[in-house]
């Protein structure tokens, strides 16, 4: 059983009397990628800011690397926790190398110790270029390199692939997996895209309207995440009559069936074919994040 690196209990943050984050319990284990999923405004960034001591919780406790996040331990914790919150932070008028030097100075690390990180994020060739001239993907990678300079035990990354093109997204994704699985860094990464999180996360926490609605492994989520089978035929009306017991719905030009396993899907196809329907396509699709929230919150 992996050691818990980040642990929160009853974490709550109020703004103007309203709970932006409500009674959040997190258990993030060492060396794993923890996907923190939720729609925009769900409370992901606020939770991460509380973890980093950038905002004080209204209630609840935070423990990181076995230390409580308070005035006494804050700096000690932060020397072991790299982060990117909201947008990548950097000094655009400085070069990539100077930005790395800046972190070395802040953390009082030996000069040049962080240059290896530029290599790790494939920015070695651009180290003398001003960051204002970097592409968005390069800026994101630089921010990750800056977060890595301290050789962190934990990385907290808030939507690190935001605004990146597919190639950039892939690079960041591979980097995160590599950091966790090769270097043993615990990575907490937030996103509003389920598709993004499921590609990298070992464990997933889902937050909606400030409340945690799920926390478990990716496999556990997969089990409760119902699929949909989308069938396109030459006569959907007859198809719906034939499959009545499965509670089918017609959406646009397709029949939608919820939560079929492979055997039942094969049986459905067989029934339709034996009744003379022409099947143009059968697609299995996992439920969207929106539908998943509805399932997890009972539609509230």
């Amino acid at each position: 059983m992996s050691k818990t690196v980040i642990k929160t209990n009853g974490l709550t943050k109020q703004y103007d009397g309203l709970n932006k984050v409500n009674d959040v319990v997190l258990n993030i284990k060492k060396g794993r990628v923890y996907g923190f999923l939720g729609p925009n405004g769900a409370g992901k960034t606020t939770t991460m800011k509380m973890l980093l001591g950038l905002t004080k919780p209204t209630n609840g406790s935070i423990e990181i690397l076995g230390m409580p996040m308070n005035k006494e331990f804050k700096n000690k914790i932060l020397t072991k926790v790299g982060n990117i919150i909201e947008n990548p932070s950097y000094y655009g008028h400085l070069t990539g190398q100077e930005n790395i030097e800046l972190i070395e100075r802040m953390l009082e690390l030996p000069e040049g110790s962080g240059l290896e990180m530029l290599k790790l994020v494939s920015l070695e060739d651009a180290k003398d270029k001003k960051v204002n001239d970097y592409s968005l993907g390069m800026k994101q990678r630089l921010a990750i390199a800056m977060a890595l300079v301290r050789n962190p035990e934990v990385l907290i990354l808030d939507e690190p692939t935001n605004g990146l093109d597919p190639a950039g997204t892939r690079q960041i994704r591979e980097l995160i997996i590599d950091l966790a699985h090769e270097r043993g860094i615990t990575v907490m990464v937030s996103s509003h895209l389920l598709s993004e999180i499921e590609k990298i996360a070992d464990d997933i926490g889902i937050i909606n309207k400030g409340n945690m609605v799920f926390e478990g492994t990716a496999d556990e989520l997969d089990k409760i995440r119902k699929n949909q089978t989308i069938i396109r035929t030459n006569n959907n009306g007859i198809g719906v009559q034939l499959l009545q017991e499965l509670d089918p719905k017609i959406v646009k030009d397709s029949i939608i069936l919820d939560n079929l396993d492979d055997l039942r899907r094969a049986a459905v196809v067989k029934t339709l074919v034996l009744n003379g329907l022409k099947i143009y396509s059968v697609v299995e699709q996992k439920k969207s994040l929106e539908d998943l929230f509805l399932d997890l919150t009972g539609g509230k």
Partner: protein
């Protein structure tokens, strides 16, 4: 991180930003004007001086007017250069999660700009003192000038506190620049206003530090106005009190902002 390291760190961030050039561009006009004025030997003939010290006080009055104009602008422009880089991309988060405290950031930025403002003030005083000494050879009223220098240093604290407050509290740096320009304008026109009003103008404290005032004494045969230079004792207690008040305001602004979310 100690405050010294924090200052070094701030200086490192200023690379490629032409920060010192800005300071030079704001200081050179003051020095150039004073030197020009000192060289213009005819200018003394229109003035009646109370004693030999008045020559120093009168030249310093002109310098204070320029400091009153340019120091608020210097404070606004320089502090804005230091703070704007943190507002862009919200680098406060980066700093506060990397071994820096808000107080260190606030005071290291303050110290850097204050040092440069003080350097401008020292150079201004030096040029006036050396200039008058070389030209007239009169003894230097060391005590008065020293007290006066400290009063102007207080005025610098007042200007910079206002500028830093606006710069840190408002992301839009046009606000601090506008306030500084207004401050500079009020600073230079404050000799034209009644002292009762100037007392309430923070940027007026450059002029309130003056050791003399010019009074119209009459017209000479050539039809030129004659002024008498009247020595005055600035209200150092008031200047000190207002400076202390602004030091407290400065601390309060740093404390209040440090407790707020970035």
């Amino acid at each position: 991180m100690t405050i010294v390291k924090s200052i070094n760190f701030e200086l490192f961030k200023l690379k490629h930003r032409y920060f010192y050039l800005t300071w030079v561009l704001l200081t050179v006009p003051i020095l150039a004007y004073i030197i020009y004025d000192l060289k213009d030997s005819g200018s003394y003939s229109n003035f009646v001086y109370q004693n030999t010290a008045s020559y120093y006080y009168d030249n310093l009055l002109k310098a204070l007017m320029l400091l009153g104009l340019l120091m608020p602008i210097c404070a606004g422009v320089l502090i804005s250069k230091l703070v704007d880089q943190e507002h862009k991309g919200n680098n406060w988060k980066l700093l506060l999660t990397n071994n820096s405290s808000f107080y260190q950031l606030w005071y290291s930025k303050f110290i850097i700009v204050y040092f440069l403002m003080e350097l401008s003030t020292v150079l201004t005083f030096a040029v006036v003192i050396v200039g008058v000494k070389l030209k007239m050879g009169y003894p230097i009223p060391v005590n008065d000038l020293l007290k006066n220098f400290l009063a102007v240093s207080g005025a610098n604290i007042i200007s910079l506190t206002i500028a830093e407050g606006f710069s840190v509290y408002f992301k839009n740096q046009l606000i601090v620049l506008t306030v500084s320009l207004i401050g500079g304008f009020l600073g230079i026109i404050s000799p034209l206003m009644p002292t009762e009003i100037v007392n309430f103008i923070p940027w007026g404290y450059y002029i309130l530090s003056s050791l003399c005032r010019n009074e119209l004494a009459g017209v000479n045969e050539a039809g030129r106005y004659i002024y008498s230079v009247v020595n005055i004792e600035p209200n150092y207690i008031q200047i000190l009190s207002v400076t202390v008040l602004f030091i407290i305001i400065n601390f309060f602004l740093a404390w209040y902002k440090s407790g707020r979310e970035v």
